[in-house]
Symmetry: C2
Subunit: 187 residues, 2 copies
């Protein structure tokens, strides 16, 4: 049983031991190694992943081959190609492991079943989704209003653990700046 | 009773007449005129708004006085400073009426009560939030990967009604380009 998922859920909803035990049965464990993909482009996506340990990235590769990073995910984060997952479309993003990871996955049908059976879980995922929504609004405003320098500084303050574990080029690909710009900012 | 909200809810959840009647009691009607604000900066935000008719914008004004538009909202859309609303913080965004509007508002407590009393409504708002989340992911990718020209063309295709009703400068402020750039793109 996943202590880390339990703690994560209990930050928003109050679940007793028996409920937690039942809820965890909806998830499957998965260990993945560095450079392994859990989602590749142009596939149907039937899982979201909760990260118990390790580090992953979710990226879009444009027609020139340049990578753009939508999100990183370390311990306690959820990751997938959410658009493909929710809309049952083929993926435009990929999800790749950066640092050996332990994941818990849940399928679309199991997630819906879980929410139906446990109203507390529907509440949990509504609140998580709301918080995710406002975090993305903040990122949009940051892209529209802040200089690369400020975006980099904010990223360092917000995600000190990720900065240490991720190659510079990936930080640049998340911030939407070139590697050269990022190198200048780091001086 | 709001036919438009009923239809909107029924796109995601199946509610009978009596449920709809009870649910609508959680909302208050509000008419607002052009240039009127429903949210101003630096206030506590206790309402989200469903737009029955008209048009609004949600904006951030930076320290130089430049406006950046986070979202427009016409018929069937929800609008607020969602970050301030969900996190109970003071607003950094404002919400202003562009075209005379009829709104339905719901407070934070009433929304939570509604979701608790009607699991279908918790489901509705989870699904809406998920769809909102992936729409924002798409906008982030668009800001990171697409030229101003492509962003403008996509906006025209996606929101033909908004293009007709909104001054050019506001389209530019949504797309994150200058008015001069937008004028060039429109030729």
């Amino acid at each position: 049983m996943s202590e880390i998922l339990k703690q994560h859920l209990n930050q928003i909803v109050s679940l007793d031991k028996d409920e937690l035990k039942q809820i965890l049965l909806f998830f499957k464990s998965k260990s993945i190694h560095k450079k392994q993909f859990v989602i590749q482009e142009n596939q149907l996506v039937d899982e979201v992943f909760f990260v118990e340990s390790g580090l992953l990235k979710c990226s879009f590769v444009d027609e020139t081959g340049k990578e753009h990073i939508m999100q990183f995910a370390c311990e306690n984060w959820w990751i997938s190609d959410f658009s493909a997952f929710f809309k049952k479309e083929k993926s435009t993003l990929s999800v790749e492991c950066i640092k050996e990871a332990k994941l818990l996955s849940i399928s679309f049908l199991e997630l819906e079943l879980l929410c139906k059976k446990y109203p507390k879980m529907e509440h949990f995922f509504r609140i998580k989704s709301n918080l995710g929504y406002v975090a993305l609004q903040k990122r949009i405003l940051s892209l529209m209003t802040q200089s690369a320098k400020i975006r980099y500084e904010n990223f360092c303050n917000q995600y000190p653990n990720i900065i240490k574990k991720v190659p510079k080029i990936q930080i640049a690909n998340y911030l939407g700046v070139s590697r050269e710009t990022l190198s200048r900012l780091q001086k």
